[in-house]
Amino acid sequence: MPEAISWEKTMKRALERAGAENKPVLVFFHNPA
């Protein structure tokens, strides 16, 4: 069984990258259905 995605960790990584690149984060909430 695949490990569940940790969205908190994913967001944390995105924010770290944003800080390093001095860019804002674009969060796109979508409905995959």
Binding site: I5, W7, E8, T10, M11, A14, L15, E16, R17, A18, G19, E21, N22, K23, P24, V25, L26, V27, F28, F29, H30, N31, P32
Partner: protein, 150 residues
């Protein structure tokens, strides 16, 4: 968004150049709850500390999506009192997308950014004059109406 807007070359290039994109299912906990997402698509623009500065709910075509992003980036800078950077993005929006829905708000925010960076009230009056001239049906004209008296 996936069928029309995201595949567009200009959108891809803009997002890669100016933003860190993150795509999340609408029911992903705890982020969907933290951001109070109730409908899709929802786009949120945050600073690197995770603070929200701009949001839109609903479909946007490429010619509206890029100006939405430009305004959001400008708001990130504006809210952090980086007025020159905010003005740069607002100028790009108004030069490239003057007919977009984001344009009237950009006229307003650009004038406020100029006022806050210089202390000169003339840009506030210019907000009203430009909105009256170019965007007379905009709600932002009403918000700027006190500045006509300056």
């Amino acid at each position: 968004m996936d069928a029309v807007t995201y595949p567009e070359k200009d959108v891809i290039e803009f997002v890669e150049r100016h933003l860190v994109p993150l795509r999340i299912a609408h029911d992903s906990k705890p982020l969907a709850t933290d951001f109070n997402v109730k409908w899709t698509p929802t786009h949120v623009i945050c600073d690197p500390a995770g603070r929200e500065h701009h949001r839109a709910v609903g479909f946007m075509a490429p010619e509206e999506f890029i100006p939405f992003l430009l305004l959001g980036i400008a708001r990130v800078h504006f809210d952090q009192e980086y007025y020159q950077e905010a003005t740069t993005y607002l100028e790009k929006l108004l030069a490239g997308y003057p007919k977009s829905e984001a344009a009237p708000e950009s006229v307003y925010l650009r004038g406020v950014a100029l006022y806050k960076s210089t202390g000169d009230p003339k840009p506030l009056k210019k907000i009203y004059e430009q909105l009256q001239s170019d965007y007379p049906a905009s709600a932002w004209l009403k918000r700027a109406s006190p500045y006509r008296l300056l």
